[in-house]
């Protein structure tokens, strides 16, 4: 496949949920022509590898607001796009294994409530109602927000893909973005493995590969990809409604519409920094221990498969949304750190407005790519790196 034109209004690097949604917002505003290039196949990156959680419990106000808008968008998704992501608002349960962990949930709970969301404290008995079969003593309590939920990532990708093609957006796969051609401090063209594509605007929405692409463009960035693993069990009859998460070890799991238990765990520090998307015996052992310890009844349940994907992490846990301070026309929409699917509908709307030169309501000190240069303490952070 080859691009139909030699020049585009916007070229987006990465056809994951961030890139596709950005193109959707741009196309709706009549910006065109738009091209999306991707090095792999559709859904080959994190958009096809995540656990499908969508939560609104965050440590910063701006993220809670973005997440609320995203939940509203996913509620409408089936109507808007004709594809059913099976978005199920069956809640997120933050587990606390002891009193100290429970206390740490307090500030988030307060902040979430102050934003008008009905986060509830749950005691040990309440946890047992939400998670039937939990080992007594495994949790002293937690917080629960019933309007959080889970979805199937794939229909989101297909729905956006169909809508974009209908809107005349070009999407090309198997193309590697190699860098940008500059005209002074401005983007003039994207260089790809299939040649040069002229454009005044490049959006870096390459997820786990976005650092690599930024560096190829000569830009210093703070995000870094880390490999996370995940597994799925045999399908079981429904017994678990909410997504269950535990901050201490990053454990998260839910039961999908098909009945599988799907979940993961924060990775241990990997000195090699490998981002090969392979599976490890160590993860299978740690995850199985965590699940069986929490839900002993799962002991006899078989694991069907394990896989891995990349989190595009930033030092403060917040995404990078904004134009690069060193290169005009180069817009960052990355650093989502495993939360791209959760925040895509709303945050990409800001990306689209930035591309069109409009003002946005995200504070550059909180989301801008230049924020890491300043050593200012007291900047907000999101430490909850959870599914």
């Amino acid at each position: 496949m080859k691009a139909e034109r030699s020049e585009y209004r916007v070229v987006i690097v990465g056809a994951g949920v961030i890139g596709l949604y950005t193109a959707h917002h741009l196309a709706r505003r009549g910006a065109g022509p738009i091209l999306i290039v991707d090095r792999g196949f559709l859904s080959s990156g994190a958009s096809g590898r995540n656990g499908g959680g969508v939560r609104q419990q965050w440590q910063t106000r701006a993220t809670i607001r973005l997440a609320r808008e995203s939940v509203a968008a996913y509620r409408r998704f089936a109507r808007d796009f004709g594809y059913n992501p099976w978005f199920r608002q069956s809640g997120y349960l933050f587990l606390a294994e002891d009193a100290a962990a429970l206390e740490r949930l307090g500030p988030v709970h307060e902040l979430v409530r102050s934003e008008g969301l009905s986060s509830e404290w749950v005691d040990a008995a309440g946890v047992a109602r939400h998670v039937p079969g939990i080992r007594p003593g495994a949790a002293v309590g937690g917080t629960y927000l019933g309007s959080d939920g889970t979805l199937y990532p794939f229909p989101v990708v297909w729905g956006l893909h169909d809508a974009l093609r209908a809107a005349g957006v070009e999407i090309l796969h198997g193309i590697e973005a190699l860098g940008v051609e500059r005209d002074g401090g401005r983007v003039r063209a994207l260089q790809t493995s299939r040649g040069r594509i002229a454009t005044p605007t490049v959006v870096n929405a390459a997820g786990g590969w976005s650092r690599e692409f930024s560096e190829r463009c000569g830009l210093a960035v703070a995000n870094r990809a880390t490999r996370h693993e995940i597994l799925a069990t045999e399908p079981l009859k429904p017994f678990l409604d909410p997504m269950v998460v535990r901050a201490s070890d990053g454990l998260y799991f839910s039961q999908t519409m098909r009945g599988e238990i799907v979940g993961g765990l924060s990775p241990l520090a990997d000195p090699t920094g490998s981002i090969a998307m392979s599976s490890s015996a160590g993860f299978l052992g740690r995850m199985a221990r965590a699940l069986v310890d929490l839900l002993p009844g799962l002991a006899s349940v078989g694991v069907l498969r394990a896989w891995s994907g990349l989190y595009d992490d930033t030092p403060d846990g917040l995404p990078i949304v904004g134009e690069d301070p060193a290169l005009s026309g180069f817009v960052h929409a990355n650093g989502f750190g495993g939360h791209g699917m959760m925040l895509a509908p709303s945050s990409t709307e800001r990306v689209a407005r930035l591309v069109l030169g409009e003002r946005i309501d995200l504070d550059p000190a909180e989301f801008g790519p230049g924020r890491f240069a300043s050593t200012g303490s007291g900047r907000p952070t999101e430490a909850l790196q959870l599914g």
Partner: protein
């Protein structure tokens, strides 16, 4: 090659259970359309004979021994797998249920749809246990050479290694009979589920995780691993291909070994050595031989001797019958009228596929082998793969008659015993890609013209994915098996693509107009077979703590 799974209650061929009346043992309903299912593969991979015991969910009756007292079919049927009210979905949706675009209108009903669909999904509820069950710690063993699979080639390698003084040699096998006396010490029936890439920093760079049937995982560290996992009989696409009575050659032989007469007048589909095996095993029960191509002279002679009619160069279009196969519809290739044969079984003996999972897991370079239409590792003459220390022997390496498999296995053993350093990743010449068309490509091209009747063509039996859904994905512009898998759910069920993938690659090759080797492959993820969380929990690892 491993063909016949053992009945665990017997120790050898002579101690067969007494014969049972004809018929198939355990009723089962398919996951989405509640179609009646009966044992298909007979070797512990397909979804059709799931049962639960007191201790475990979703085990296969074909491996536990059919029918087991106190064992219930794992089923979401109501009131029973035999009489299942949910089977109305099959009739109500002759062209399938569209879960991608359906169930979203009116918006007020969406939550109700979700509740119903969720209720219908899944196989069984885990037993509620509130106490922490002691997880069996992973046993650790170390050896010089681990041989996985104890068929003809695996046994030949292990025997030759021991004869040459290589020590210790460990063997594992999914089929207990072949492990007896060979394993040191005997692990019983055990399946190699995960072979990660080697860690050259370790004295034993290879670490293979083996799940024992009795429970518990064994981590076997070794300097070499010889993979002799053989192959299995492939599925076939036609209308009603999931009817009870449609079995693989493996399944037919396995059922007969367990004392069943799965059919009284079946057709055999295939013209090769597997078809001869089936004829030898079922001297009176074969009513016809159907083959996609011409039938060879030796099979013609056997058929003439027994008065079995032959249908060479024929399309198997449809299997009919409400609960099980009653009739089979054929059409001569190149066009012609539809013929109907009376039959109560269809034995698929046309194609044998090697198990590629362990090779993919450890990162071996693979090549498309057009003869079975499957991926095999690239090897040098000693069977060494591109992964240092990992060897392939027997059918896992090449399609050959068993005597060649033994010879090849001996050459591998010689190379290992001689202490030949494991070749690195580079010295092997890339064997890419001789791509003569697979014989079934032309067959399926003709057969696709028959698609579109009221009977479902099941492309992925574990997940009830229809062939028409693959065609639809193609029409929407989705290319390559990885995307089609994510779009349709093909290959994501309990067999992890064993039975749908070989045919899906050929179908996509036709639809996309490029060779099967260009359609790609589904990443083979661990474990090779579903492995209990309790077993995996024993894998030693860094102690976890707050991160």
């Amino acid at each position: 090659m491993n063909r016949t799974p053992a009945d665990p209650r017997t120790s050898g061929d002579d101690a067969r259970p007494p014969p049972r009346p004809p018929g198939l043992p355990i009723g089962q309903r398919s996951i989405r359309y509640h179609r009646p299912r009966a044992p298909f593969c007979g070797i512990g991979y397909c979804t059709n004979c799931l049962v639960r015991t007191d201790a475990r969910l979703n085990v296969r009756a074909c491996r536990e021994g059919y029918p087991v007292d106190g064992v219930r079919p794992t089923s979401h049927a109501w009131p029973s797998p035999r009489w299942d009210l949910f089977a109305v979905f099959d009739g109500l949706f002759p062209h399938g249920i569209d879960t991608l675009r359906g169930f979203r209108r009116p918006a007020i009903l969406v939550r109700a749809y979700q509740r119903v669909v969720r209720r219908l999904a899944g196989y069984a509820t885990p037993r509620v246990a509130t106490a922490r069950a002691p997880a069996p710690p992973t046993q650790r063993r170390a050896c010089e050479v681990l041989v996985i699979g104890q068929g003809t080639a695996g046994r030949a390698v292990a025997d030759e290694l021991r004869r040459r003084g290589v020590d210790p040699v460990m063997t594992v096998d999914r089929d207990r009979r072949r492990s007896e006396g060979a394993a040191s010490p005997d692990l019983g029936r055990a399946t190699a589920v995960f072979l990660p890439p080697p860690d050259p920093a370790q004295p034993h760079p290879l670490r293979c995780y083996v799940a024992r049937d009795v429970g518990g995982l064994v981590e076997i560290a070794s300097r070499r691993v010889v993979v002799a996992t053989g192959g299995y009989d492939a599925s076939l696409l036609f209308a009603g291909n999931d009817r009870p009575g449609v079995v693989t050659a493996d399944g037919a032989v396995s059922l007969a070994s367990a004392g069943f007469s799965p059919f009284s007048h079946a057709i055999v589909f295939g013209d090769g050595p597997r078809a001869r095996d089936v004829l030898a095993r079922f001297p009176r029960e074969i009513a016809a031989i159907v083959a996609p191509n011409e039938i060879g002279p030796d099979l013609v002679a056997i058929a003439a001797d027994r008065g079995i009619p032959l249908y060479p160069r024929s399309l198997l279009v449809r299997a009919e019958g409400r609960r099980g196969v009653r009739r089979v519809a054929l059409r001569a290739r190149g066009g012609g009228p539809l013929m109907t044969l009376e039959a109560d079984g269809v034995v698929l003996a046309h194609r044998r596929i090697p198990h590629p999972q362990l090779f993919f897991q450890c990162g071996a370079r693979m090549r498309w082998d057009p003869r079975p239409g499957a991926y095999r590792p690239v090897t040098d003459p000693t069977g060494a793969t591109t992964v240092p220390g990992v060897y392939a022997v027997g059918f896992a390496r090449e399609s050959a008659v068993p005597s060649d498999a033994e010879g090849g296995a001996r050459r591998t053993a010689e190379a290992i015993a001689a202490g030949a350093p494991p070749p690195g990743p580079e010295p092997l010449a890339p064997a890419e890609p001789l791509d003569p068309p697979h014989p079934l490509l032309g067959y399926y091209r003709e057969l696709l013209a028959e698609l579109g009747g009221r009977e479902k063509w099941i492309a992925c039996p574990c997940e009830d994915v229809l062939l028409s859904e693959i065609v639809e994905a193609n029409e929407r512009g989705y290319r390559g098996i990885e995307v089609v898998k994510r779009y349709t759910g093909l290959g994501t069920g309990l067999c992890q693509g064993r039975y749908c993938l070989p045919d899906a690659l050929l179908i996509l090759s036709i639809l996309e107009g490029r060779p099967p080797s260009r359609v790609g492959y589904i990443t083979q993820r661990p474990p090779v077979v579903p492995t209990r969380l309790a077993d995996l929990a024993g894998i030693p690892g860094p102690e976890e703590g707050p991160s």
